[in-house]
């Protein structure tokens, strides 16, 4: 691992997570650990048992058992009965119709969760069951969508496909994924004087929760404060999904005049809240004898569930990543945002990018197998390339110039460090000797666009206070869900003041401190909030510099040095806290806000062209697997990763994101299977049935390195975003499994995702069994 500590700077060092000691001692306070106000009630939401039904009647008279304080249905919502983030369609309580099994119908507040649950189930809800659309093929047939069909196009793929030397078509099913944050959705709402509402919410998007609480209560935003110190994991699942929970808690708190806690247990959480979108992707690709893509048509059917939620932006991102690292001279990418009677799918680490990327990697794999060429060779001839003979091989299908492409270098270095070529021979030898067990390997690249693709969202604010004792308190609009954002931002601010990290403290994200924030999402937390906090700190430092220069008399403000807790101006020097105290006595403001907006980006939606991303993050992985051809079971033997985080602010935290992202991505594509019954009821709603990776599923040999480089764009510390991109390194595992199936004798294996042992055995059986 390369860390680059510079002198006494905090940034660049592997500082431990700011809450690490609290985590390990059990002292870190999560929303459910907050001491509840006296008289706090507990809430429970009754769910629809049907995927699609008309509500004939709701009779709650039986719900009022001892200990029950309020029962609420749609008609009791004083404001707007909708918690949708963008486009309407996510009612707090279903009103006339239920659109998925698990949809909230009513809620009860009672003196215990047990009473609330029992009471809710005493409600008599009469339904008329209606036919349900449960897959994307049916939605396409019925033309039922949650958003407009969208096309990104470059060149003329239809014409070009007619004139290619080689052509393949196929399809791929890609399953969804549950976030499985360890801490379930939760909120604690407390009514305050004068109609105000305070809410602790486990959310990635406090500003949106604030706004939606105001909307459902029909009060102004300024009467609502939302706070979050930390989440027990988010992964996108608490971007829009936290709102329903917080709003129901707030509605019941307003109704009862008491604090109300709403915590979904694991089953309710998994049934009621959205997941990663499942996709069905069809492709038609033309290429030359080297496997160089000449034209491609790709159709992406996204299973959006029952409402738009964030699906349009997610489906857009799937389209933006239909190229991954590959130049597409002629391409048409068409996206259908399919309506189904299932929970509305939502943001999940990668935000559509993984599905788009998996599809093109599958296409490349197909091309290589069709031509009997090494897959890595086919990848290389297709890489974006500004240095080559044709400069135009560096423009994406949505018209963005790929200026910063380092994937070829990453691929070369990884191939060498992973000993890739030699291992191909070892795998052949192993497979020749072993009739039952077969090994496979794949090396796959990642190029991931960084920025919210809705340009407006790329802004952030921060608030920095320096107290008279020289300690610094920091607040910004980002939320901490484990990714180490707060630690990195503290490092950045500590360096502005030349202070040791311990002198900077970050407090709970609070909508009354920094307003109108964007979600902590799109990997952008550090890029946006780090810059905003840096700006706020620089404002104060500027004032202090000016003051110090005045005191010194002979020094220009820009020459004042802040380092190791000492401020030096010419021949004069003060410990930081002394200068701060002096500045206070001279009535210098020691508090400042900071603001940042990402430069350069724009998007012309009508033309489907622009520069939606400030830059790209890159990485590559080699995974080797072993497969049991009798059961389809497998094990990851070794994974090597080389990943580009620019100049790392915190190598340990970045490595943690890479390793965790990879394992989560591998889980998505292997053991994590969502399974609905024929009536559209989710049956995998707890860890007993939904299997995320355990420690034994990680590669036996796991080697991770940071790519030595820095971001050519002006990002904080020249770093790159790291939250989402590594998830897609897990694609190497999926394609290694496909490779193992192929090496077992199936020439063009059909492997759907997730590649459960069952899916692998099914792919193997296309040959009629192996042994």
């Amino acid at each position: 691992m390369q860390g680059k500590p510079v002198n006494n700077r905090a940034a660049g060092q592997s500082k431990t997570h700011d809450s690490a000691a609290l985590h390990v001692s059990g002292e870190a306070v999560y929303t459910d650990d907050i001491a509840a106000p006296a008289g706090c009630l507990h809430a429970y939401m009754l769910q629809s048992p049907h995927a699609h039904a008309k509500i004939i009647s709701i009779d709650t008279s039986a719900c009022h058992i001892a200990g029950v304080h309020a029962v609420m249905t749609a008609r009791d919502v004083p404001g707007v009965n909708d918690v949708a983030p963008v486009f309407a369609g996510d009612p707090v309580f279903a009103e006339n119709e239920v659109l998925y099994a698990g949809q909230s119908v009513l809620a009860v507040a009672a003196e215990s969760m047990d009473i609330a649950r029992r009471a809710a189930h005493l409600a008599k809800v009469e339904y008329q069951v209606l036919p349900a659309i449960l897959d994307v093929h049916e939605s396409l047939r019925q033309q039922k969508f949650v958003g407009e069909t969208y096309v990104m196009k470059t060149g003329d793929s239809a014409a070009a496909l007619g004139a290619v030397p080689h052509r393949l078509s196929g399809a791929l099913d890609i399953g969804g994924q549950d976030h499985f944050y360890l801490e379930g959705q939760i909120a604690l709402a407390t009514p305050h004087e004068n109609g105000e509402m305070h809410c602790w919410s486990s959310t990635q998007h406090p500003s949106e929760v604030q706004h939606l609480i105001a909307k459902v209560l029909a009060i102004p935003d300024h009467a609502v404060t939302v706070e979050v110190r930390r989440m027990g994991g988010g992964f996108g699942g608490k971007e829009s999904q936290a709102s329903l929970i917080a709003c129901v808690a707030a509605l019941l708190a307003r109704r009862t005049g008491r604090a109300v806690k709403l915590r979904l247990d694991r089953d309710d959480d998994m049934v009621m809240t959205g997941k990663r979108h499942g996709f069905h992707v069809k492709y038609d690709v033309g290429f030359d004898a080297q496997g160089r893509i000449q034209a491609m048509d790709m159709v992406q059917l996204a299973d959006c569930g029952m409402s738009p939620d964030l699906s349009n932006a997610i489906a857009d991102r799937a389209m933006f990543h239909a190229d991954n690292c590959y130049f597409l001279p002629h391409a048409t990418v068409t996206s259908y945002r399919c309506f189904t009677h299932k929970v509305s799918n939502t943001a999940f680490r990668g935000f559509g990018g993984p599905q788009g990327m998996l599809a093109i990697e599958y296409v490349i794999d197909d091309i290589a197998r069709h031509l009997n060429l090494p897959a890595e060779a086919v990848r290389r001839v297709n890489f974006y390339d500004r240095q080559g003979a044709c400069k135009d091989r560096a423009v994406t299908h949505y018209g963005m110039d790929v200026e910063d492409c380092v994937i070829a270098d990453i691929f070369d270095k990884l191939e060498a460090s992973a000993d890739y070529r030699a291992r191909l021979g070892q795998i052949d030898a192993f497979n020749a000797e072993n009739p039952v067990l077969k090994r496979g390997i794949a090396m796959t690249p990642v190029k991931f666009g960084i920025s919210f693709t809705l340009t407006m969202l790329n802004q952030a604010g921060a608030l920095v206070h320096v107290y008279k004792d020289g300690s610094v308190q920091l607040n910004h609009g980002g939320t901490e869900m484990g990714q180490g954002l707060h630690t990195k931002v503290c490092q950045i601010v500590a360096d502005v003041f030349g202070l040791p990290l311990e002198r900077v403290r970050i407090t709970a994200t609070n909508t009354s401190k920094v307003p109108n924030t964007s979600a902590t999402a799109a990997s952008s937390g550090t890029d946006l909030n780090g810059k905003a906090a840096e700006a706020a700190a620089h404002t104060i430092r500027g004032r202090l510099s000016e003051f110090a220069a005045q005191q010194a008399g002979t020094c220009a403000p820009q020459d004042v040095v802040f380092d190791v807790g000492v401020v030096t101006a010419g021949s004069k020097a003060w410990p930081f806290k002394e200068l701060v105290n002096l500045a206070y006595m001279n009535r210098i403001s020691l508090s400042a806000t900071g603001f940042y907006k990402t430069p350069k980006i724009f998007w012309d939606r009508a033309a489907a062209k622009g520069r939606p991303f400030f830059y790209f993050a890159y990485g590559a992985a080699v995974s080797e697997v072993i497969v049991d051809t009798l059961s389809g079971e497998y094990k990851i033997l070794r994974t090597d990763i080389l990943h580009d985080v620019g100049r790392s602010i915190n190598p340990a935290i970045d490595r943690g994101q890479i390793e965790g992202g990879f394992v989560q991505g591998a889980g998505w594509l292997t053991s994590e299977e969502l399974w609905w019954d024929a009536k559209g009821v989710l049956k995998t709603h707890a860890p007993s049935t939904y299997k995320i990776p355990t420690a034994r599923d990680m590669p036996d040999d796991f080697r991770v390195a940071l790519y030595d480089g820095e971001n050519p764009e002006d990002t904080v510390y020249k770093s790159k975003a790291v939250g989402e991109p590594p998830l897609m390194l897990g694609i190497s595992v999926f394609l290694a499994l496909r490779d193992a199936v192929a090496r077992a004798g199936v020439s063009m294996p059909k492997l759907s995702a997730p590649a459960t042992p069952e899916a692998v055995l099914r792919a193997l059986e296309d040959k009629g069994g192996v042994f």
Partner: protein, 481 residues
């Protein structure tokens, strides 16, 4: 007349009354005890965020700690135990972090931190018992702990690093445990329900005679979920875990006798020796925390069609002893399972022990499990195979499967296809073909019917390969390295 629940929590004696008997330890810790370091991630014993250490006084005076899931342990079942939660580690480490905690910090092994107390407790428990735990032991120790952030590498590194740090022991207080030990049945009778914990088989028989509809509770790894997941009311619970006579694991003339209330952890070593694949299978039954609580008898008594104990035990011709006030009777294990949720157990009866007979030298045996994930997953298919060979000819065959029918079930047609034949590819093919007549499995979230049918045949094929072609490598988990 009701007793109070007595246990030692983080070094202090707690005496509890007035709480419902179905309250879980986790609910107690996070509620009345005000100890919020232990987390709820699933309330079904599958994620480990609630991991705590629990010691009990054994007959030999020792009091070893075991890791368990607090989320499915019913509070009265902790009577007489010593419990350590994450909050206590700073006490034993004199205010500092325990080495496991310190190593976790140094190795960047927490991200969101929600699973972290559970990992800390699982690893502290392991290193407390086994200071030189190797990687297999460390993996076993955290087999029931899920982390969604780190990808586990730094947690494993922290475990290895903690081994090299100065030890901080967490001793159990045997004297204190002796002072709260019961010599006769513990009765906890609340308006919300009754809980009885007899200490002898006779007391058990008596209380079951008095309450024939009582729910029997052993490790609670299934019954706990009836409470936390199905929200069932259990008006009378009879707990078997304090009956020393039901917890023995003994070898009687080569026959292994396992008391019905012995946990899988307690029976692990003895069972692992009973045949090829047993250790691999046992390692995949639940997680270590589940095996520390769940019992061999409970895994049989609940009649589940997907329990992993019965298939190999039936193949090994195990029998069970059922007991009641009226006396005892013995039953071949396979006869116990009558139909889905229907077993040959009369009201007032309980399983006293499981007897695994000595295996004949000419019996070929293996057992296998197939599931989506190695650790802590329920089988798609589990198989136990035994072939009694006689001069190269199969004299008797016992091919028993879990996950293929409404009960653990033998493949009668496939067995018939093998008997009297030499163990050859042809016999294998005949048995596999015959197996279509044996089973019509279900499709569910764990596997499709087609997959189950294929795997059932393929596992027999694997058995053939392993018994006739020892040079061929099988099983990815054995040959991963």
């Amino acid at each position: 007349m009701t007793d109070t629940i007595r246990f030692i929590l983080n070094g202090k004696l707690c005496e509890i009354s007035g709480l419902p008997p179905t309250m879980t330890l986790l609910q107690y810790l996070r509620g009345p005890a005000g100890l919020c370091g232990t987390k709820e991630g699933c309330a079904e014993g599958d994620c480990g965020a609630c991991t705590v250490m629990v010691a009990r006084l054994e007959k030999d005076g020792s009091a070893p700690y075991r890791s368990i899931n607090a989320c499915i342990a019913l509070l009265p079942s902790l009577d007489g135990r010593q419990i350590v939660t994450v909050e206590h580690l700073r006490n034993v480490a004199a205010g500092a972090l325990h080495p496991v905690q310190q190593a976790m910090v140094e190795c960047h092994a927490s991200q969101c931190g929600f699973c972290t107390p559970g990992f800390v407790m699982a690893l502290t428990n392991e290193l407390n018992n086994n200071p030189q735990a190797d990687d297999t032991a460390i993996h076993d120790a955290i087999s029931g702990n899920l982390c969604r952030c780190t990808g586990y590498r730094p947690i494993l590194e922290a475990a290895r690093r903690a081994k090299d740090m100065p030890r901080v022991d967490i001793p159990a207080d045997a004297a204190a445990l002796a002072s709260i030990a019961r010599t006769k049945m513990f009765s906890y009778e609340m308006p919300a329900g009754k809980f009885f914990a007899p200490v002898t088989p006779d007391e058990l028989a008596d209380v079951l005679a008095q309450y024939p509809d009582a729910y029997m509770l052993s490790g609670g790894t299934d019954v706990g979920l009836w409470v936390t997941k199905f929200h069932m009311d259990l008006p009378v619970i009879v707990y078997t875990g304090n009956i020393a006579a039901l917890r023995g694991v003994t070898d009687v003339d080569g026959n292994l006798e396992i008391g019905a209330a012995a946990t899988y952890s307690e029976a692990f070593a003895a069972l692992a020796k009973r045949g090829a694949g047993m250790e691999d299978l046992l390692r995949r039954i639940g997680s270590l925390h589940i095996r520390n609580a769940g019992t061999v008898g409970g895994n049989i008594a609940n009649g589940s069609p997907i329990g992993d104990g019965p298939p190999p035990l039936i193949a090994l011709q195990a029998e069970i002893i059922l007991r009641s006030q009226k006396g005892t009777r013995s039953l071949a294990l396979e006869k116990y399972f009558i139909a889905y949720k229907k077993q040959d157990r009369q009201p007032g009866e309980f399983i006293e022990k499981i007897i695994v007979p000595k295996r004949a030298e000419n019996t070929l045996f293996a057992t296998y499990k197939v599931s989506k994930r190695f650790d802590q997953d329920i089988s798609a298919v589990c198989a136990g195979f035994a072939l009694d060979m006689d001069g190269g000819v199969i004299r008797a065959a016992r091919l028993c499967y879990g996950g293929m029918a409404a009960t653990p079930k033998r493949a009668a047609a496939a067995e018939a296809a093998l008997v009297g034949k030499p163990w050859t590819r042809e016999a294998l093919a005949d048995a596999a073909a015959a197996m279509d007549k044996d089973f019509t499995p279900l499709s569910d979230m764990r596997a499709s019917a087609a997959y189950r049918q294929s795997v059932a045949k393929n596992l027999l094929k694997r058995f053939f390969i392993e018994t006739t072609m020892p040079e061929v490598k099988t099983g990815v988990y054995r040959h991963a390295g």
